[in-house]
């Protein structure tokens, strides 16, 4: 790295334009010079209302805490209790989100399976089918059923522990998968029945059903084929979660996977990632509303993903009404993505540790988002899997710490009443009061806890602009 020799422009009194900031100027220049729009990995980068905007109210005079490290706080969750003969029983509510072999190396898929299995949770396939690496190393494997049906094989359906019908993902609700030619190697191409080296554009709609009535029939077919054994999840990208969840329930889902716009992708247009969909925080309460109105909250399990990074995020998602969460980006970071030790290599490909998002390009120096055999070999699936298991344990323990402080003997006992909001946006989205107040923006005064002054009749209202 070269030392900075020119003074900071701001020190000279120059002022950056908030509308045309440097990243915006660079994007416009890039588009003008190359005719290309940005395709990248990861989720939304913009600052969004998120779990950070909530705080827990620990136990006090009116609440009874549990002893940390002494009193029991259980963490297990059962998914698929509605119709499936064989529901999944997981030791932690933190699961691994769907990510494909193709977008990830075989070593990375194996590491995800190893890490998840070490702590008794599930991992999930992605577009392109099931590989030996992940089935062989995943004690509990969820098989995604996607619009493309690449590699879709009924044998794999029967080998799976659950089936996830994917309608969309948070990074791109309304968009299909994408895998650029650099990653369509012979093995990936053969699995997906595609020519080697093409830019794969997956379908965004399922080829043989449209709408909730058809989905009900499709789910029944999947149950018939697997003899009603497997839990069937429906995954939606957060855009209209109240209606989507209500319709998925009607269609017969055992569980709902709700992915907010911070959820990652292997390759999507930046304009899609940043401008389509709603934040995870905004989506959860709407999904819970739909479940409660159907009388099926906790019977149809809700699995939330999109920006889950820590045990605090897990606890907040659960308190808002989720039964479990999924991590994707955080899991990849645990494997070794964006490792500062690889700084020099990131610089060589025009990025930097902490910024690397060219997951679509297949040049990942960490050997995770690549199909290059030499790069892939760099990732030791055993060591990487153990790092992921460590993260999963830490997240689970952090969530327990919070739950005990709130007096809960099970993570599932966390509830909205344990939370307050730090920002007006978060208060409005989650319908939790702004910290230190009883104010919930958007609720009618009668629904607020604080006493409300009677409304003056219109005839006696003060004239506009009138002073006291």
């Amino acid at each position: 790295m070269t030392a900075i020799t020119t003074p900071d422009p701001a020190a000279l009194g120059l002022r950056e334009n908030a509308t045309f900031d440097r990243a915006t100027i660079a994007a416009i220049r890039h588009a003008a010079q190359t005719g290309l729009y940005d395709i990248r990995g990861g989720g939304a980068k913009r600052r969004l209302p998120h779990f950070d905007d909530l705080l827990f109210l620990g136990a006090s005079m009116s609440r009874y805490p549990l002893e940390g490290y002494r009193e029991r706080c259980d963490t297990d969750v059962t998914i698929g209790t509605r119709f499936a003969k064989k529901p999944l029983h997981l030791k932690t509510p933190v699961t691994i989100a769907g990510m494909s072999f193709g977008s990830l190396s075989g070593q990375a898929k194996e590491a995800l399976g190893r890490g998840a299995s070490e702590v008794g949770t599930s991992t999930t396939t992605g577009d392109g089918g099931m590989t030996e690496e992940e089935r062989g190393h995943s004690e509990t494997l969820v098989y995604q059923y996607l619009p493309s049906r690449y590699g879709m094989n009924p044998k794999h359906l029967r080998l799976a522990d659950a089936i996830e019908v994917v309608l969309g993902q948070g990074a791109k609700p309304g968009g299909g998968g994408m895998l650029l030619g650099q990653k369509i190697t012979e093995r990936v191409a053969a699995m997906r029945t595609l020519p080697v080296g093409i830019d794969q554009r997956s379908a965004c709609r399922h080829p043989d059903w449209t709408g909730p009535d058809d989905l009900r029939i499709k789910i029944t077919e999947l149950r018939e084929i697997t003899d009603w054994e497997k839990p069937i999840y429906v995954k939606i990208g957060a855009s209209r979660p109240y209606y989507d969840v209500a319709l998925a329930i009607k269609a017969g889902a055992d569980a709902i996977v709700l992915d907010g716009m911070q959820g990652g992708t292997a390759a999507t247009q930046d304009v899609f990632i940043e401008h389509v969909g709603i934040p995870t925080l905004a989506a959860i309460p709407q999904a819970v509303d739909a479940l409660q109105e159907a009388g099926l909250h906790r019977q149809v399990q809700l699995i939330v993903s999109g920006g889950v990074r820590s045990g605090a995020d897990v606890a907040k998602a659960l308190a808002l009404g989720a039964d479990a969460v999924s991590i994707g980006t955080a899991a990849l970071i645990a494997l070794g993505d964006n490792d500062p030790a690889l700084e020099d290599e990131y610089r060589k490909i025009g990025s930097a540790a902490g910024y690397y998002d060219d997951w679509q390009a297949g040049q990942d120096p960490a050997g995770i988002t690549t199909q290059d055999p030499e790069l892939s070999k760099r990732l030791d699936p055993v060591a990487a899997g153990h790092r992921l298991a460590n993260l999963l344990r830490v997240m689970t323990m952090e969530a327990q710490i919070i739950a005990r402080a709130c007096g809960k003997a099970h993570l599932a006992h966390l509830e909205p009443e344990d939370l307050v909001a730090l920002t007006i946006e978060a208060a409005a989205m989650t319908r939790r009061p702004l910290a230190g107040t009883d104010w919930i923006p958007g609720l009618a005064p009668a629904a607020q806890a604080a006493p409300v002054a009677p409304v003056a009749p219109v005839a006696s209202a003060a004239p506009a602009g009138g002073g006291a």
């Binding site: 290309l36 879709m152 650029l180 020519p195 830019d199 080829p207 029939i217 029944t220 077919e221």
Partner: protein
């Protein structure tokens, strides 16, 4: 309704038994066994998920996803079929004597699907290696994103045929509406005539292969180019 015994009569009346009873029995049926299904009455997912070389004859009309994900079995439907007949078939044979609704043979990887009548929209959508022979015509957007295999259309094809097609081969005897993006007419070489003759024979049809034209991918949209922005 109790479990249907495998060694019970191989004739199953769906007014007496549920589709689940039937399917679970078929999933355990020994290779070579022959089954007859009466009164399907348009129910869905009949004979879905078969995975052994058995023969199933369905007397009547079926609903959605009949013979879905079929492997090895031979399924014959005397009437019409609803949406997604033989969807994602891996191997074996499905024969519809009537007509089929949309998405027939969707995403199927292998085997042979024969439809004596017409097929509606999106026949062979995202097909991945299956061979489909349609005695009549097909609706719009058939062979959309078709990846591999052959679709033989003895009648006419609707608009958007072969839109965004990959390496599948389309043979059409009648008229074709507007072709889909990146789908073009191609030379009928001897290997194509041989393939077509074989498929027509397997379907029990005696059309002259010389009456067909072949369509396939121009391979112009396989990689992203910004100049293609208005091509789709």
């Amino acid at each position: 309704m109790g479990t249907l015994s495998v060694d019970q009569s191989t004739r199953v009346d769906l007014r007496q038994r549920t589709v689940t009873d039937l399917n679970q029995a078929l999933h355990q049926a020994p290779a070579g066994s022959q089954w007859e299904v009466l009164h399907p009455d348009g129910q869905h997912a009949i004979a879905a998920g078969l995975a052994a070389p058995i023969t199933v004859k369905i007397e009547g009309h079926v609903g959605y996803f009949a013979a879905g994900m079929n492997e090895e079995a031979s399924v014959e439907i005397s009437g019409n079929a609803g949406v997604g007949v033989a969807e994602n078939m891996m191997s074996g044979r499905v024969h519809v004597h009537g007509s089929a609704s949309q998405s027939a043979g969707a995403t199927a990887h292998g085997g042979l699907l024969v439809i004596d009548g017409d097929a509606a929209a999106r026949c062979g959508i995202s097909m991945k290696g299956v061979n489909i022979v349609v005695g009549g015509g097909v609706g719009h957007m058939s062979a959309f994103m078709a990846q591999a295999g052959a679709l033989v259309i003895c009648g006419d094809a609707g608009d958007g045929l072969g839109d965004s097609i990959y390496e599948a081969r389309l043979y059409v005897r009648g008229k074709v509406g507007q072709l889909g993006a990146d789908c073009v007419a191609k030379e009928m070489r001897p290997e194509h005539l041989a393939e077509l003759s074989g498929l027509l024979a397997q379907a029990g049809l005696d059309h002259d292969p010389a009456e067909f034209r072949r369509y396939g991918s121009a391979r112009q949209l396989y990689n992203f180019h910004v100049e293609n922005a208005f091509a789709y």
